[in-house]
């Protein structure tokens, strides 16, 4: 306890305060003995000003922490009661450090988990490390051949990423970190041993302290993180090393997840390449266009398929196949792959649709399931400006022909589905398209699209026919586009089955495809 007058002179000092203030006594000028934070607080109280901060004034005397509580005394004196709060203060400091740490870690986790792209993830990790842990951070990725992906970040500066051949063995602790061994304590690393390639171009001054920590991945190390501080800054403390390790654990697992995702995505993309329907163009003077929409929006593949196999030359038929496998998603897609490959192999027999279907049926039969397919085969040839078609349905909705006068005709072909019964039958039907006319092959996903203004109606064959009637004279891709658009509108946001359509059109004069047909197609082009 001490009593101070309005001019800052010490009036009385009790025993405890005397010891604390090194022998201060009543009558001394307070400025000489009292710490500046307390003198400051006293002036405010004397002048009737509010405190600089809410709550009682606080400060240190030697290495102790005190709260000072003022009580007005006689003649404008102030009685100051000093309360030692050192213990509580330490606890609070530790708590706020821990809070700050978990706040940083939460922010880091959330940022890191946002991207599944490896370079982007490295960029985020390096940026956040430079922001929260050090002046600069270098993220060294696992080797790709003899090179390492390197990500450099400086606090407040841009991030640079390179993949370069570097000697990791000369960086203390780095080879170990890249193999996933526990980190070497920062104090063991001599900043002078850090090679130039580690130091970002615009790093300020010589390196003062370094942390090298592994980025633990799922199974394999995801790389290593090097944190740098210049010699003018305080060296890394043990607490900071701990935070760096916690940070690295999160960065490592995010990088690992991103790596795993990229790998899976690459595998899927490769496998799907063969399962996706091919882009179609005109072949031997006939226009083809295809449209496809898989049922589950997360997957791009499904149970519908189509292919156009150009004839060896313009005098030979082109084989078009469009079909539908019972079921959805990947399982169905795998079966479409089998069917498409089998049909490809059967191309030499393509003129005999029934034989092709019988052989396909035999190839698909299995005791494991009755997952069948339905399809339409079309052999297409341009002859004197018209397009001749031979069409065979195997359990599939019959093709529709759009005549130039807007009439829509159903092609009366009918046959057994393939892949479930021991034998199949089918009837092939011939048709001719005049220039401007189109034959549409489609799967039942289109007619069975549920939606419409009342929410739960089937699109149905009659609406498809009505839509096609408006498509008289349109080029193939415009017909497909129109059908796609109408079904998309019909569906709204509702779910749907796989949908596929292929339009085969006899080009009108003025179409480029018509030109293509006149030039002798001695040069067969593949469209897969």
């Amino acid at each position: 306890m001490l009593v101070v007058d309005r001019h800052g002179g010490l009036v009385r000092v009790n025993e405890a305060a005397r010891v604390l203030l090194r022998g201060a006594a009543g009558g001394d000028g307070a400025a000489a003995r009292v710490p500046s934070w307390l003198a400051d607080a006293h002036r405010r109280v004397s002048d009737g000003l509010p405190g600089a901060d809410p709550g009682p004034p606080t400060g240190t005397i030697d290495d102790r922490f005190f709260e000072a509580h003022p009580t007005p005394g006689a003649d404008g004196d102030v009685v100051w009661w000093l309360v030692d709060e050192t213990g509580r203060h330490h606890a609070e400091n530790a708590l706020s450090d821990a809070l700050a740490r978990s706040e940083i870690l939460a922010e880091v986790s959330s940022a890191l988990l946002s991207s599944l792209n490896v370079p982007r993830c490295m960029e985020v990790a390096a940026t956040m490390a430079a922001e929260h842990l050090a002046e600069a951070a270098v993220l060294v990725g696992p080797p790709q051949g003899r090179r390492h992906p390197l990500t450099y970040a400086r606090r407040g500066g841009p991030v640079t990423q390179v993949t370069r051949r570097v000697d990791v063995s000369i960086v203390p602790g780095l080879p170990e970190a890249l193999q996933g061994f526990p980190p070497v304590p920062a104090r063991w690393i001599n900043p002078g041993d850090i090679p130039d390639w580690v130091i970002p171009d615009d790093f300020a001054g010589p390196v003062g302290s370094v942390i090298v920590t592994p980025l633990p991945g799922h199974g394999l190390p995801a790389g290593a993180l090097i944190l740098l501080r210049s010699s003018t800054e305080q060296a890394f403390t043990e607490n900071e090393e701990l935070l760096a390790r916690l940070f690295a654990a999160r960065a490592g697992s995010a990088l690992s997840a991103a790596g795993l995702y990229s790998e899976q995505a690459a595998i899927t993309a490769t496998l799907m390449q063969d399962l996706l329907p091919p882009p179609l163009t005109s072949v031997h003077g006939v226009e083809y266009a295809g449209g496809y929409r898989a049922s589950q929006d997360q997957e791009r593949i499904g149970g519908d398929f189509y292919d156009v196999h150009p004839g060896a030359d313009a005098s030979r038929s082109t084989l078009v196949a469009l079909g539908d496998v019972a079921g959805k998603g990947l399982e169905a897609a795998v079966l479409t792959g089998k069917i498409r490959n089998t049909l490809h192999a059967l191309l030499p027999l393509a003129d005999d649709h029934l034989q092709v279907l019988s052989l396909l049926n035999g190839a698909l039969l299995t005791s494991h399931h009755t997952r069948f397919a339905t399809l339409v085969l079309a052999s297409v040839r341009r002859h004197r400006g018209h397009v001749e078609l031979r069409l065979t349905s195997a359990g599939h909705p019959p093709p529709l022909i759009v005549r130039n006068d807007g009439m829509v005709e159903e092609v009366p072909t009918r046959g057994t589905l393939v892949g479930a019964l021991p034998t199949v039958t089918a009837r092939t039907v011939e048709a001719v398209l005049a220039p401007g006319e189109t034959c549409l092959l489609y799967t039942d996903g289109i007619t069975e699209a549920r939606g419409g203004p009342l929410g739960d109606d089937l699109f149905g064959e009659h609406r498809l026919r009505r839509a096609l009637a408006e498509c008289a004279g349109m080029p193939a891709e415009a017909v497909v586009e129109r059908v796609r658009m109408l079904t998309a509108q019909w569906l709204g946001a509702g779910g749907h089955d796989d949908m596929a359509a292929v339009a085969i059109s006899a080009p009108k004069p003025g179409s480029l495809a018509a030109l293509d047909g006149r030039a002798d197609g001695g040069n067969p082009r593949r469209h897969r």
């Binding site: 922010e107 959330s110 940022a111 890191l112 946002s114 991207s115 599944l116 792209n117 370079p119 982007r120 985020v124 995702y261 990229s262 995505a265 993309a269 929409r293 929006d297 997360q298 791009r300 419409g452 203004p453 009342l454 929410g455 739960d456 009505r466 408006e470 498509c471 008289a472 004279g473 349109m474 080029p475 891709e477 415009a478 017909v479 586009e481 129109r482 796609r484 658009m485 998309a488 946001a493 009108k508 003025g510 179409s511 480029l512 018509a514 030109l515």
Partner: protein, 359 residues
Amino acid sequence: MTLPTTAAALPDRLWQAVTGGDEQEAVGLVRAALAEGVDEEALLLDVIAPVQARVGVEWAADRITVAQEHTATAINERVIACLAHHPPSAAPPTPPRGRATVSCIDGEWHAFPARLVAEVLRLRGWQVDYLGAQTPTPHLVAHLHRTNPDAVLLSGSIATHLPTAHAAITACQAIGVPVLAGGRAFGYDGRYARALGADRWAADARGAAAVLAGGLARPHPAARRQAADDLPHLADQEYTMVVRSRPHLVKETLVALEERLPAMRDYSDAQRERTAEDIAHIVDFLATALYVDAAEIFTAFLTWTADILEARNVRARSLVPALDALSEQLRDFPRAVRLLREGTTALHGPSAPGPEMCA
């Protein structure tokens, strides 16, 4: 316009070719212009784009048929494909200036504007991934994870796709990819792009290229947000309610119209269905206006519809009764009622006396 005088007649000639279904002529015109030294960007934006815009205008005015509209669009697409295969006049700078993804909003089938932007960016040296129409948002996001582009350009023509666009914008930003929105759906001045939190908006392909060239900051990856964070009015649940009860609203409105308009009782099934579709559109635009909290989305749709019907010599007599019937059903939803009232006012404007819709 930066076309040389020799090419000034080009848009008209291309218009004739595409609406006449003459692909050879259309491609020939563009190839000849290239040979004369007209630059590709000018061809895309000052010749092909205006022709395509005119397709929409002429259809609305009932001066071309649906078949002509689709044929013209298909031929325009083929013309662009021919340009894309044409060897570029100047070698593009290597390496590319950056990588950009161009996509339509899920459900949007008007791909032409997106296609133009993609081609222009390619010409300006960007590596472009063009995902086209009907790209489900999960595919778009998967694509971004795989390729980590500098930006996504999200294109939309029809306002009813704005709620879906919002989901796409937040999903892209949540993984740290900035979104540049464009197309009529976002408003003539980009106001809905801002409302939905897109990073930037551009009025056209040149504007988009300029924004991209200026660079877009990556959104803070940790700053995830939900629809209601951008649009707090969604808390009143009016949007949700209208969307969820859409089939019911359409059905009840149809019944109410039959009571009020005796002529409707003699409608064929096809006519009834067309009327139901018109009502469904009204409900969709009402829902979108509720979502964005912008009355002009709704009123602009109604006056546009009235004009379309007018052009076809159909007086849209049932539009206002349909709005009345909806007001009746939605009477407990103040924002919806207000929108419907503004819609009625807009229809009673100078150009639309007693309307009738659908024949």
